[in-house]
Each structure stands twice: as structure tokens, then as C-alpha cells.
Symmetry: D2
Subunit: 413 residues, 4 copies
């Protein structure tokens, strides 16, 4: 099942790249969280193609329509409206939710697709269609016995991450309200170009909570820089590198740091469903990812235990080599991961490939409005996935023992 | 999580009674099943309020919009269109799918709601709001700490069964194509009035497959009778009883027989996730159900083993006291269940109740466009739930051992 | 997966009727529950064959060995010991747990099997082996392509319910300690003989909590009567009926009432995973069950809404037609179900059957140490399954919103 | 729930480091796989502490007792026997399974623990007990409200991986028989010392299947070298480094390459439950892991798309930067991951720490029979986890469409 997270907080998604809409259902948000549509839209806008000059030229406005799971007695139905071709011409348009309180029931949301130039994909159609190197075209064709949607990669497109971001938005609003937890990401490498700065460097580890002001300043800088990176110089240099690479018809990999600041401690199951396992899977399993690291990552291999073990004092862990998780449980230190993306598979240069029927061909992509570097947009999805897993782990910890005050209805006599 | 069925074939739903739309995602349909929108619509039309003169007067046309999971190279986007208020006035409407082949990816569907007279529900709003006897109002209010949607029961409305029917439609198309399996239901009791006929009586048990013609004739009769029952006389008498009861402001219970004809044998896991357990839960767990029986049901208690054990001959089981399942596995005999519904909880007569704050009140429902007997419409939902669980069990059985022919890509040398 | 309950509290089981042991893992018990081995053993003793003169003559002592999930600093390892043939003869025996506190980690338990007369099952072996009418022999043989364990029905034996009872024991100890919830069952019908008494009749509904003394007295009577029924006269008469039926080589069905007294209110998810759905499945899905009812069950069908809706007053629901659940959520009224079992399939009388290769035979069971009426022992399993689902629902409700006090480690500054 | 893999093939485990036994249940193995106890024991022997001179000096023989899920008509009960202290002294010992065919029912296995010197752990007991840096002691104590087992880390010990290895053994036997798939691992880095060799270097990529002889030779070398690494020189040098580090009371990290040779193609779901996501989680989520990479891993970040995309020819992919998965689906190229472990947390050197009550202390471990480098033993667990996820994905792919030949029982007429 296409479910991310769970069993308590989870996201289900459906809808392919060039289909009518991406549909999202978010399960398990506690009742009573106030959600405004604008807050979800703001996260989605960061994901949108065309939101950065380094992303794909494809333009979608990705307006989110909230269609279920909210309630309040006023201003409930002030969201954008829909008119149906099957309705009488003079029947009123159907308003959607502008916001409200969650009720404990699932939330649903729609993002319609307006860009559907299927003709672009004739090159890939059927048994004689070409296989794009680096993509799942060949395996998906044979896995589905030929019944695969070739338009934009079908559901394997990055467009499916709309659901991740919507689900993540709900989780983030909850985590921020309850715990002051904020999740950020920063591009730390583009091709061979590495940043000297990291999110964690900005904050003193082991000195208690990070201030809301400090976080807000960081978020402003990330938004203002040319790329979503916490160093202006690196962002500019990486931007130039991406432009140059695009001109050459080639593509670049990227590394992203993703961090939860002020995470709740004591969260996460041990062992087989540990929060570490879930985050390594959810972040490391995203499209195009080839590497996922926690805390000091692979560099830990080269260290001695006496260097790697973070000392503990009464105010907290005095270092974050561990990355915020020990034994799969949060320590309260920032939850810190680093994710490595391969270079975008779609390139303009000629490549050796086959048809789906395994005839060898010289392949050249007929069209190419693609990100030359997926790292430009992937940060918001990583943040969302971290939020979803953290939210689920919070509710799992909450379930850890029954508080009888929650189980009262009639007076007991 | 709001998931019905699974882990292989499953349905997720969201959307409350008076919200903008009911959203459905169907997981796990194998690639290559051709689905036309009209086939799903036909099942939904049976569920629709107002589709029978004995149902609620509320009118919805329940048009289904397919928004994900289908593909074909022509006539894909001939479904009903949507126009968005956020789009430029001259931008083209967004077509949805008219049908296509499944791709193995999740399907998504929308049914919009046009009837949203929330003002009807002021009587129920807040801590001073009334509790309707027989409904979940009181427990849902306190469970959600007050954040509950009172409009039409919120998500606990029968309107949520739209998702059951959509998911069931997909399963039924698959089961019919692969195995000739057809699932039918027939009302067997309304109030104290019992039918003398049953679906199973029409077909000789233990004589092999039931003919497509015999099934088609049964389906015609069920559709033509005043109620969805296989006896014309009973349907007419029950119709009169319902009309009389409605006039008196009261309501009636109903019993429904639901049967899968020509089910695939050998399907169903044993024990803790057995098909019996799943069907007893899925059918017995539907809104307003208070009893669920398999095969000869409670009557089995009063029988001797020598009477109850169905004899077995080379052509099959010579009786169906067992109801099509032994040890939780299908025998190939019709899968046969009987489900008892309580009388509709919403009645016009005065009742003793409380406010949500537990003050005692004399309750009288201010409005009442409700089914006097839920049995009139519940059959299609029971059929759908049976289809969903049977479909999941089919795929589970298929997973029972790897056939290496399915795991080939490049030539092996 | 062989998992009962979940996703928070769940039980996994393995081990076939005549195998070395039944293995049980219990997931999700909150940390801090004190468990003594004797308490679990007492529940298991009620399940044991031979624990009643009406059960099967097969004798097992069913001693439970606790092997994981408990801790305390003293008297931890005072449980029964195991000596391994692979250890040196003078190495010490391995003690198991006599009790301790749960740690939040899974519990594990073993019940070894001493009765393994496999030779009894030669009649059933292989493609020429006979199919016992009413059993899963035929479908399991073909489902598994012949790789099925014929000894005592393999894992489909009632012996697998050892895991249900162990898991249920843990849940019951927790529910009783936290909420004073006690789950009882009473045989209400044997063959055509019906009891005039029910558990619910003993307690005034709608008057608040039921006293611990009242419950204890009921439990004593249930234990003292010839059968586990709350009427001495009925128990004696039913006992005679069972003896007579055994002598004739035949078998009888049974009906069991199972009730949770003082259940916590507000527990249970709505709709697709509702507590009603889960209980109908778990109770109705047990071996040999053909009917499952909640509250007034099938009798609800014949009632008007004005009769069926339980009035509500400030102290609670004034009736329990609803059976303790509305909209799938507990109301605090006793959780009340009734379950109907078919007559035991194994009988001594001759029957028409086939071999697994579908050759017709006149079947006569060569041996017959079987219960003539499974109702004699099934009550404890139903109680256990109700406890498991209720426990899971309690933890799900607890997860309904995060209490920030549970998420503290270092002082916040 | 402590479940690894699933929903079709999965492993459940229970039992803490110093408890009586580790209990394992393996779900979902297809019926008909012949399993000998010796094959499982051989894998477990590779995991055992003391199996290498670089591991912990703690000695366990880790004999596996198979107690459920197998059947055959002869030599079934030739496994090691158990004698129970509760049985009469002259009652026969209870034999366990020596092997047999799987039946489709769950398998169960026990490994008893003989080494239980709990006194060693007094230093860690209670609120005044010390917190070991790098371990989960502090968070587990507070998460469980003090109810935690301090003996050897309780269930968070590496001893819990016995279940991984047992489950993995079953999967490996199935994958090897069906597809010739063999999973191997090789240590590629110890501390700062890196190996020049990799498993993949030995085999020509893109030339079809790897021969059984080639694989057998590799396995012999891995077993013969001082450490489980495919280079003799590296293994010897790394062995010296480990010995030196142990003497200094310190510890070392390690990197492990884990590869499935001849994996079945077309296996793995896309997106939210993709095989990539599952493997990144399962491998990356193992105790002490801080980094997990697929194919060329983090090095992909620095490459251009034109360098990274593996060319495709009629005989297969001409390179394995992709690591055997595209879009989460297997391509038939070796499934290739690299996992980085932190240095062992338990060291003999003094460290800054706190008590569980957060009083600052100078911590020195009172005893230290620990691996100075967990990489010495972790390979077998990584192999097992890869096997479990691959096996589950194989069955998921098999479920992809019903083959009607599998659904026959009686002749159809």
C-alpha cells in the first residue's frame, strides 16, 4: 500500500505526473489542531516546479484544495471553489475548506494538474518505446506486463511528493505547536562543490533549547539565498555550476542536510520499528537518493569510540555525533541527517540504451524540461518525511501508558 | 488508519457527510484490468440516497470523478470535467478519466457533495447541543475533546460508504473477469416481516458452477422489485411496512443476505487473519449492524454434527451449512453471510436524552430526512465489503509461492 | 501474518497441535505492569483440554514458561526450569521468569506439548488420505500444494488458542488494574437447550460501576457450576445433554455470551478499524464460530427505533440494546457480545466424504478423543480476544493527543 | 510491533540479552521449502559472540531449537531435546524438529541463553545508576518510566539479532533454491583503514548470471580470512588494528559491503514502500549504523548524469552505479549496499556522563567483555535483513496478478 509513516500518523497518495490530480489522505492527526490552508500552501509552494530558477521550467501553481477532515462553525468554506461539468450551469460552485480544526478523522486534499502534454512521451510508448537510462522505465514496463503510464514517469514522478509535503505540513504544524519543533534543510553539496557551513554549526549543542528567533533568522536566510542553503556564497557558486551544467545538457548530484530543531525527547520505538530505521528508510528511500547518514554519518567509521561518544552533562549531550537518536530513541539533541542524491537521470546528451523489447538503441531525449539538479527542490520533501515519521513516533510514545483521566464520560458513583 | 481490507488490496477513505467531497484511494489492484467509469457509477447509483422511494429524501447525484491510476492511449480523458475558481476564466476545464487500464498504482476517485444545509444541525452544536439517541454523538464529542463535526454525523455518516462501494467496484470487476465471481445481496427481513426466499435456494448446491444466465436473471429480479429482495411479494409487503412506519415517525431494522456466487476456492489465510475473521469484521462492523452470520449461522447451534457437516462428493460439497468457508479458506461453495441491522436511530418520536454536557433533556429531532430502514440501501455496501476482502484474499493466495517465470527481464546466459 | 489485534497491542503465535511447543509473542504492553506467572497459568488452565469432564480426554498440563519481556531485581528467575540435551550433563538448568514488571518490550511464552501420537493420523495422510467433513483438511491440502501437517489439524487445531489466552491474560491484568474492567463469559445455549439467565441480567444497567464484590461472586458461580454458565440448573442439564450426545457418537453446537464489565468509555476508532469491526471479526472469526452478535443482536431487526434506542440519562445509558458500542466507540455500558458455535465437526458416526484426491469414500473417524461440544472450552478464548482488542483500543485512544509532560528529559532553560 | 519486513514475509522477535531465551517467529514462508536445522545453525554460528577472535569473549553456543512450522513423515523430531523441571523425572525428553517441509504456517525457533551474570550490571541499576555514553540507557530509562532491564542493554543488545538471522536463513534458502540468489557481505573499512577490494569487483557486471562456482569461491575466501573481508591483506591488517585498539581500551568503527548476487529482477514496490526504502531502513536502522548507501552511494553526488547513468545493452545494465534498484525495483544487477557502523560505544576509557537522575559523574565501565569493533560480526545480520526484505518483495511481486490455475479444487463442469 502507498502509505508513508504509520501506524498512527500516516499519509496515503495517488495520482500520476500527468493525471488529473494528486490525491492525498492524511491519517491520524489528533483532534483540535487548527490548520489554515495558507500554511499548507506555503510548504507546497516550496516544492513546486518553477519555484526556483534552477528547477524545471514546467509551471504548475499547485493550489491545494482541502476537501475533508476539518471543521469550525465559521469561515469553514472560504477555500477555492470547484465547478463540475456535470452540474447544471447555474448551480453554485462547490467551496472547499479554508481551514478549521482537525476532528481526528482523516484529512483529504487535492492538487490538480494543468500541464498534460502527453504527446511529449510518444518516444517512450509501448514495446518499441525507448528506455531512459537511470529511470525505472524498463523495470516498470515489465513488472506491470506493459500496463504502465509513460507520461512523465507516471506515478514515479517527483510530482507524487505533493502528498509527502501535505502530510508533512500537518505534522509540522502539530510538532511546532506542541513542542516548538522546527524542521529545516540546507543544501550542503552540489556536484563536487561542498559547503563549509551546516545548520548545526549555527547553534550551540548541549545548551538547551534553540530560540525561536534564531530559527526564524535561519529560515529567512535559507529562503533568501539563491538556493536553499545556509551559506550565501555557496548558494551563489552552486547556482552558477547548475546553470553551466544545464547548458552542457548534463546534470548534477546534490547533498542535503535535514535537521529537526528542538525535537521532543524519548520518542521512537526500539529495534525493528525504531525511529532510526524509519527515518533511514523514509529519507533514504526518496526518489534519486543513494545515501543517507545520521549524525556524523560515514565519518564515524574512521573515529575511535573515545572520540565518537558524545559526553553527557546535566543540561544535555555535549555533542551530536549521534544525530539526535540513541538506540532509536530521541535524546532531545537536534535530529540530524544528511542525504545524497544522484545526478538527475534525464539529460540531453546521447546515451546507450534499449527499447522495452530489449533492442539496443542510441538514445537521445527528445525533450528536456527537467531539473538539472534535483537537490534544488528535494529539501522540502525530506523535511516533510522527517516530520511524518517524527509525528508518528510522538503518538506512539504517547500511547505508552493509559492515563485514566482520558477515559471518563459519565460520573462514577 | 481508515483502511478497509489489506495488506494487498485495500481502500482508504476521507470526507465527512456535509464536507466538499468524499475522497477514495484504492490500493493494490493488479495492472491490466480495464475499468470504465460507467461500471463504477452503476454501483454507486445503487448506494445513492434517493435511489429508492424508501430511502432518505436527500438527493445527491453522486457522480464519480476518476483522478488517478488509469492509463490508455486513447479516450483516457473523456470523463466529466472540473473548473477551478483559482484558474484564469478562459483556461480549459480539467478532464478526468473515463476509463482505462489499471497500472498497478493506486486509483483515486472523488464524489462531490452538493447538499450542505449545515443550519439543520444547530440543535446538536457544542456542549449544550443535544445527543441523538442511538448515534455516536456523545462519545465522539468527548473522545475528540469537543472537536467534532456535527453536520450529518460528520464522517460517521453512511455517506462515507461511498469509498467502500468504489473500492468494491474495482474488486468486483477483477473477480468477475478472472473467476466469474458475482456478489449479490437480498433483503431477507424488514422489522418482524421475514422473507421465505433466499438467494441460495435458487441454485442447486454442489453441482458445479452457477451459470451466468442464472445470475443475470437473479440480478434483474433484484433490481426490478420494489426493494432489493429476491421475492416480489416480500418486497412489496416490506415496502408497505416501511411506508407505514415512516408515517408513524418510527423506524425498522432489516436483515440482509449477501452471497458471492462462483467464488474462487482455496482463498483465505488460516486463523488470526482468516477470511472468515475478516468478513465477520468487515460485514459485522458496518454502521448499524448488530449481527453477522456465516452459512447457517446461529441455527447451527441447535444442530447435531451429523446434521451440520456438509457431505462431500467428487463434484463438491453437498450442502452449504458451512457458508463457503472451512478453517477460514474458501471451498468453492457460495460464500454466504447474513447481516442484521438495527432500526434507524434517527426517528421523529420524542426520546429521553442528554446534552453533550450531560444535562437531561426531552429530545425531539428537529428535522428528519432519514431512511426509516437502513436495509434499503445497505446491501450494496455489504457486497462491496465482501468483494474487497475476497479480492485481498485472492492476491494473498497468489503470493503463496513464487513462479519464476514472473521474474525475468534480460535473457539468462 | 499470524497477528491478532494491533497495531499497538497484539499477539503473534506459532506452533501446531502436535508440534514441540506453542510459541507466543505479546507486543505493546506498556512498561510497568506487574505480572506473575501464576496469573497467566490460571487463565490457561481454564483453556486446557481435560480441565472439564465434558472436554476432550486428551491430557496436557499446559505449563507456561515465560522467556522474555519481564524484569525485576529479585525473584525474577524463579519460574520452571529447562534442561537442554545439547548442554553438558552437569550444566545448570535454565530458569525462566516467575514474574516481574513489563519493560515495554515484547513478552514471550512457551507451552510445550507432550501428547504427540502422530500414528493416529495415518488415516489422513497424503493424497489418498481421507478428508474429515467439517474440517479444513481438503482446502488446506490443496492450498499448500500438499505440504500440510495432518497431525491433529496442524496449526488449525484449537491448541493454537494458547496464544490468544496468553495475550489476553496480559491485557486483562492491565485493564483490571487501570479501569477495574473484568471480562467474563457464560454458556447460554447447548444444542437446542437455552439458558434463561444472562450475565447482564444480574447487574442493573445505567446505574454506574458494577462492584468488585458482585463480579467476584459471579466468577465463583461460573467456576463452580458443572459448565461455565451462570445458571446452575442450565449447566447441569447441558452437562447431561453433552454426555448423552457423546455416547451416541454425535456432537452439539453452543452459544456463548461474552461481556466486559466496567469497560473504559470513549475507546475505539470509528469506521474502518472500529472496535465493533475488530470485535465482530476477532470473536466471529474464531474456529467453529458461525454467528456473532452485539447487544441485542439479531433481535434488533424486529424492533422499532423507538424500542431499540437506549434512553440516556445523566448517569448513563438506561439500557444496553446497543451492547456497549455506538459508532464503534465504547459508551461505558458493558461491552456485550453473543457468539454461536457449530457442533464439533469430529464425530464418530459414518459420513460421506472424499480423499484429498477427490475419490468418494464412506468416512469413519478411526479415533475420537474430541470435545463433543466446543462451547465447553471456548469461553476463555472469546474473553481473551475481547481483552486483546479492547486493550489495543485503549492504547489507540491514549495516543489521541500528546501530553507534553511525557516528553521531558533534560531541564529546559 | 517488533516486526521486521512484511506484510508477506516477516520476522518477529522477543527476548532480552540476559533473559532465558530469544524467541523468533517467521511469518509467510511459502509451503514446500525443505529446511534442515543445520542450515540455520550455520548462519547463526557466524553471528555468535566468540565465533571470531576479534569479537566479545562472551561465549554462547547459540544452539537453535525449531519448535513450529515444519512437517515431514520421517526424521521430523530428530532435533535437540528439552527436559522440563515440571515434568515427572522419568517422562521422556521433548524432541524438537531437525528439519522438514514448511507448511505455510509460521515457523518458530528458540535460542536459549546460558550467560547471565546479572551482577555485572549493578553499576547501571536504578535512578542512581550510571548512563553509558553512546548507549540508549538514559532515554530507555525515562521512556519506560524506570521499568527497564539493565542487564546487557536488555533487548537493545546485539543478541536480539538472533531473530534477524533465523528469519534471514529461511529467506536465503528460499531465494537460493528459486533464483540462485546468494547474499554476501565483506568488511570494507575498519577505523581509517580502507580495503582496496570489493565484492562487485570480482564479477563482470552486465554479463548475465554469476556462476555458482564463482560465488562458492568467494564465500570460502570470506570464511578463511582473519576477518570476514574479501581481501586477505586487508583482513590481516584490520585484525592487527583491532587488537591494538582493544589493548588501549578504545574501539573502532567499520564499513560493510553487502550484496545480493543474482537477485530476481522486477521485484519491489514503487515509492512509499519501495524496496529501496525498505532496505535503506532495514540496513540503515540496525544497531550502531550511522550511514547507508546504495550502489555508488555518496560518491554519486559528485558525478554528472552522463557519468552516473549506467548504459543499457541487450544483455543487461553495463555498470552498477545504480546498485541494482531503479525506481525501487530490482534490475537484476547485483543489489549492492554499503553500511557504516560507529565505533563500539562500550569502551574501557573514562568518560563524562550522568546518572539516570542526571547527576554528573566520571564514568568508567566496570567490566568490558565487548567487541572493540562491531563490524566483526554485523555482516551476517545485514545479509539476513537484506534477505528478509528481498523475500518479502518477491512475494509481493508474485501477488501482482492472479493465475487462475492456482485457484482450482473441484472439477468445473
Amino acid at each position: 500500500m502507498e502509505i508513508l509513516g504509520g501506524p498512527l500518523f500516516a499519509v496515503a497518495g495517488a495520482g500520476e505526473s500527468h493525471g488529473p490530480a494528486v490525491t492525498t489522505i492524511v491519517f491520524g492527526c489528533p483532534a483540535g489542531l487548527e490548520i489554515e490552508r495558507d500554511r499548507i500552501q506555503a510548504f507546497l509552494d516550496r516544492r513546486r516546479p518553477g519555484s526556483s530558477k534552477h528547477g524545471t521550467p514546467r509551471r504548475e501553481d499547485d493550489t491545494v484544495f482541502l476537501t475533508g477532515g476539518l471543521y469550525r462553525t465559521e469561515r469553514l468554506l472560504d477555500g477555492p471553489a470547484i465547478r463540475l461539468s456535470v452540474a447544471a450551469p447555474d448551480s453554485p460552485a462547490l467551496e472547499t475548506y479554508s481551514g478549521g480544526f482537525t476532528t481526528g478523522e482523516p484529512l483529504s486534499a487535492l492538487v490538480f494538474s494543468r500541464s498534460r502534454k502527453s504527446a511529449h512521451y510518444d518516444q517512450l510508448q509501448g514495446l518499441q518505446g525507448a528506455v531512459r537510462p537511470g529511470h525505472a522505465d524498463l523495470v516498470k514496463y515489465h513488472k506491470s506486463r506493459g500496463f504502465t503510464d509513460v507520461r512523465g514517469g507516471g506515478r514515479s514522478s517527483y510530482r507524487s511528493t505533493i502528498s509527502d509535503v501535505i502530510g508533512g505540513s500537518v505534522a509540522r504544524l502539530y510538532l511546532q505547536r506542541k513542542f516548538g519543533t522546527v524542521i529545516v534543510s540546507s543544501i550542503c553539496q552540489v556536484g563536487e562543490l561542498k559547503s563549509d557551513h551546516s545548520v548545526l554549526d549555527r547553534f550551540a549543542i548541549g545548551r538547551g533549547r534553540i530560540s525561536a528567533e534564531g530559527i526564524a533568522e535561519l529560515e529567512r536566510e535559507l529562503a533568501d539565498n539563491e538556493l536553499h542553503a545556509c551559506s550565501t556564497e555557496f548558494a551563489s557558486a552552486a547556482g552558477r555550476l547548475i546553470r553551466d551544467t544545464r547548458v552542457r545538457g548534463d546534470s548534477l548530484g546534490a547533498g542535503i542536510e535535514v535537521v529537526a530543531l528542538n525535537p521532543p525527547p524519548l520518542v521512537g520505538e526500539p529495534l525493528y520499528q525504531s525511529l532510526k530505521l524509519r527515518l533511514m528508510g523514509s529519507l533514504g528511500g526518496l526518489h534519486a537518493v543513494q545515501s543517507c547518514e545520521m549524525g556524523s554519518g560515514w565519518a564515524s567509521v574512521g573515529r575511535r569510540g573515545s572520540e565518537h561518544n558524545d559526553p553527557i552533562r546535566a543540561r544535555g549531550y555535549q555533542g551530536n555525533h549521534h544525530g539526535g537518536l540513541l538506540g532509536g530513541v530521541t535524546t532531545g539533541s537536534p535530529l540530524s541527517f544528511r542525504v545524497g542524491f544522484k545526478p538527475t537521470s534525464s539529460i540531453a546528451l546521447p546515451q546507450q540504451s534499449v527499447t522495452k523489447g530489449l533492442d539496443e538503441i542510441d538514445f537521445q531525449l527528445k525533450r528536456g524540461r527537467h531539473d538539472p539538479c534535483v537537490g534544488v527542490r528535494a529539501g522540502i520533501t525530506l523535511e516533510s518525511r522527517m516530520a511524518i515519521e517524527l509525528m508518528n513516533a510522538v503518538l506512539m510514545h504517547q500511547a505508552g501508558d493509559a492515563d485514566t483521566d482520558r477515559f471518563r464520560l459519565f460520573p462514577e458513583v
